[in-house]
């Protein structure tokens, strides 16, 4: 509660000499774990989230390997192999969704960048921010427990020594009655984890909304906000309105499983379809919790690295909000075959298509932004262009699934697997990487190696398409998903896909090694390595502890001309006069 009016006396680290940055201004592990500095919290999020990304990735490679042949790959007995596969794909999904994709961009980049971009000293409620970080770790601990238990039991430990259950074989969707009546007890721990993670997400949302509303400095009108902030705002709205429903769903599922309350479990008169409504009311908007911030990142990166004013600012901004709101009207399209009434199906199908339009608007605007630009093929730009490719394809294949009659044929097959990987993984992952490479110099004051970064990105792009494009074909031929074994004639698809996954892994390893290398050997980064004009590039890299010694004055965030390339120093320098003229005046971008 204290967060509303932070009382004095909460000092967590020593006073420090001036002129240093947020990384160095205080030392000791405690100064991190209890830091109220949004930048440090962002960095801590980064460590945790990247770790869980690694775990999820390992699961992905394992399950692709299991599918290399129709028969069992890792173990001699079919039963053991199927069991292994079911647990693997479930944990891959659960870890990737709840621990990686949902928090990735808002929690890491959002926390680090939002206040700086906005020109604020911190988020509105720093303690709430820290609490949400702890919640994330709390949830992560539950999942680690499930994971560990699963490994131990697989290694031959007697399950009775794993209180609260081991492993998870429900699929990340926890569909009843399987999750309530059949699945391993790991479900319980996992649900608790999801519940706690939900809080982390909600608190972040509260914080971002309050920050964007209350902490905008002079000149930062709504329509001078960088598009990344618009995207984060839309995301926060979804986090606020959808996540609580996930929380209550989790609670009811737990009660169903432990007490048998008979709300979801048909054996007790419950209704499994009701569960699906509950689940998707959160989990569809959750897809936009993933993609909206990604879109925001892309807007920043494309404009900055094309050295070009973003095209159609207002349309991109409004489309973010439109997507956020429409995302609540489409959850039923996950249930077209479940026995939902045809009326509901029709309505949900219609709204589903309506979401396609703002997405299309964004894509066209991004491409037009490149027109007459001065494009640099930096790693962020390569990632952003990959995003455009994958998002266009992922988005358009959504049309197959939105169309009722086609949905009936391809739902529950590899077609849908491919589709949501193109959108949730391809697009979001590449946007995430673009953002990481874009703001890395700001975070750590080190440049990354462009060549190896690009090599990694392109490898990843190739590997990704190798893995998932083929799955569209397999799916349209009727290869059901979540199959541990499959009919002979699908073997070739699975083998290509598996090889692709290895290539992906290679690309990712390259990309992260490159980041690591820049930490150790990278050359020092100037305040504004890209010549972008959003406020985050107006402060030093890495930023000082409280971001802006003097409160910045916001101008047109995409006015690239405000920065001139200075040959002697080999740096972008601010054109003071131009900055002045723009600052304080109404931005020109939105009257046309």
């Amino acid at each position: 509660m204290a967060v509303y009016a932070p009382a004095p006396g909460a000092a967590t680290h020593e006073p420090h000499p001036r002129g240093d940055n947020y990384l160095t201004h205080s030392r000791g592990i405690m100064s991190w774990l209890f830091s109220l500095d949004h930048k440090r919290i962002g960095i801590m999020y980064m460590m945790g989230i990247l770790a869980s990304f690694f775990v999820g990735g390992v699961f992905a490679v394992l399950l692709r390997t299991e599918l290399l042949t129709p028969g069992p790959t890792f173990s001699s007995s079919r039963e053991a192999a199927w069991n292994f596969y079911n647990h693997t794909f479930t944990l891959h999904g659960a870890v990737m969704v709840f621990l990686f994709i949902i928090p990735a961009i808002p929690a890491i980049l959002g926390n680090f960048v939002l206040p700086i971009m906005l020109g604020a000293k911190d988020v509105a409620f720093p303690r709430l921010n820290l609490l949400s970080l702890w919640c994330w770790f709390g949830g992560a601990i539950f999942f680690s427990y499930v994971l560990l238990g699963g490994i131990l039991v697989a290694a031959g430990l007697d399950p009775k020594y794993v209180p609260g259950g081991f492993g998870l074989d429900t699929g990340w969707t926890f569909y009843t009655p399987y999750s309530t009546a059949r699945a391993t007890d790991g479900t319980i721990a996992a649900l608790l984890g999801v519940f706690v993670l939900g809080f982390s997400s909600i608190l972040t949302g509260v914080n971002f909304i309050a920050t964007i509303h209350m902490l905008r400095p002079r000149g930062m009108t709504w329509f001078r906000m960088p598009l990344f902030l618009w995207a984060l705002y839309g995301t926060a709205v979804i986090q606020l309105l959808a996540t609580p429903v996930l929380a209550i769903t989790g609670l009811l599922l737990l009660a169903e499983r432990l007490l048998g309350i008979g709300i979801f479990d048909p054996a007790l008169g419950g209704d499994p379809i009701l569960y699906q409504h509950f689940f998707w009311f959160y989990s569809h908007p959750a897809v936009y919790i993933m993609i909206l911030p990604a879109m925001g990142v892309i807007s920043e990166v494309i404009s900055a690295h094309s050295r070009k004013h973003i095209f159609g600012y207002n349309f991109i901004a409004y489309s973010s909000i439109a997507i956020a709101l429409l995302s609540f009207l489409v959850w039923g399209h996950h249930m077209f075959a479940s026995g939902q009434s045809p009326l509901a199906n029709a309505v949900f199908s219609l709204f589903t298509f309506s979401v396609a339009i703002p997405s299309a608007i964004k894509v066209f605007n991004w491409v037009s932004t490149m027109y007459k630009g001065d494009i640099r093929f930096t790693t962020p730009m390569i990632c952003a262009m990959s995003f455009l490719v994958l998002f266009t394809f992922g988005g358009l294949t959504g049309l197959f699934l939105g169309a009722l009659s086609n949905n009936i044929h391809v739902r529950g097959t590899y077609f849908i697997v491919a589709h949501f990987h193109y959108v949730m993984v391809g697009s979001v992952l590449f946007a995430f990487l673009a953002g990481m490479y874009h703001w890395w110099p700001k975070m750590f004051g080190r440049m990354t190696n462009i060549f190896w970064g690009n090599v990694g990105a392109i490898t990843l792009l190739i590997g990704f398409n190798l893995t998932f494009f083929i799955q569209f074909i397999a799916g349209s031929l009727g290869m059901p998903r979540r199959y541990a074994t499959y009919p002979e004639h699908f073997t070739i698809y699975h083998q290509i896909s598996t090889i692709g996954s290895y290539v992906m892994a290679a690309g990712l390893i390259l990309l992260f090694l490159n980041l690591l290398h820049s930490l150790l050997r990278g050359k020092a980064a100037p305040a504004n390595p890209w010549g972008a004009n959003t406020l985050d590039w107006h402060c030093a890299s890495p930023p000082p502890h409280d971001n802006f010694p003097v409160e910045p004055v916001a101008g047109d965030p995409y006015d690239m001309k405000a920065w001139k390339w200075d040959e002697p120093t080999q740096q972008w320098v601010l054109d003071e006069d131009r900055a002045k003229t723009v600052a304080g005046t109404e931005p020109t971008i939105h009257h046309h």
Partner: protein, 358 residues
Amino acid sequence: MSELVDKQRAAVAEMGDTFSPKRDHHVHPPHLAHHFDTPEQQFSSGKLGMWAFLATELLMFGGLFCAYGVYRHNHPEVFMYAHHYLSTFWGAVNTVILISSSFTMAWGVRCAQLGETRKLVILLALTLLGGFGFMIIKGIEYAEKYQHDVWIGAGNMYHKNYHGDHLPQEPPANQPDPTMDLSGQRAEGEPFASPAAEARGAVGGAGMAFEAGRPVPHDPNLPSPAAEGPQRLRRFGPEWIDPHAGTGDEARIRPTQVIPAGLAPDVVHQHEMELAYAQLPEFERDRISTFFSIYFVMTGLHGIHVLVGMGLIAWVLFRAWGGEFGPAYFAPVDLVGLYWHLVDLIWIFLFPLLYLIH
């Protein structure tokens, strides 16, 4: 303007860490965090944040109201029948208590704004008292239900997996010990295990294992319950026990006792209950436990919120005692107040929906 900038420069130069008190004392009024410029800004941020949080609370309860809506929509008779177990009297009393505590809270905020610390402390104490009163009465209601096996999930006597676990050792006079027709299944134990317990055995098990609770053959062409003859028509009264008890699966899920005495002082006569129960379609009777599950989940979650609210009020009370609040700074009182009002607001809906079904 420049003078402002200088001021800020000075401030920054002084800044130690985020919330170092000495910094605060130099350039900020007390309680003003470094990243805010004015108390107004901080106060409205707090309010905005609180409202955003309250919105999430509403959505969370929204899920429960949704479940309620679906089941009431699908089984109106069940709700009609089962709500007689809830005491309108206690419900109404609790409503009044909660409203009153809401009133004292609002009044308390007013006092905080006007700096009337002593009144503030008293009012907060009264509010806290209201919270206690509410929880005590809830406790009484729960306890009575528990004693009579009107409990959540499998602890409910109408539940398929009912064990009679919660029965008092000495069954009340004028009621036969329901365990009599439970003994049969007690000996067997296994088939009525809770879904969770069942799951352990059943992972990878065969289809039929699922019906452990209640067998369903793969073939639907069995004679329908109606056609099965009189032994399925059951009377509902204490003095009569099913001769086939223990043979079928239903003896164990059929309560043989009337409404627990004292549970519903104001309404029900056993006569009405018998009619109501007899009027329920056979398969609807299995849904009665669902009503109680919904009742306990909703009131339970609300109760947890009341407890949290009480904790917060106690915290504010403590700070008010220390005289921290006044016209300049009363955000915590106001925000805790908002939370407390929301708890009240939710109960305002729970009361008619659960207790006053007509």
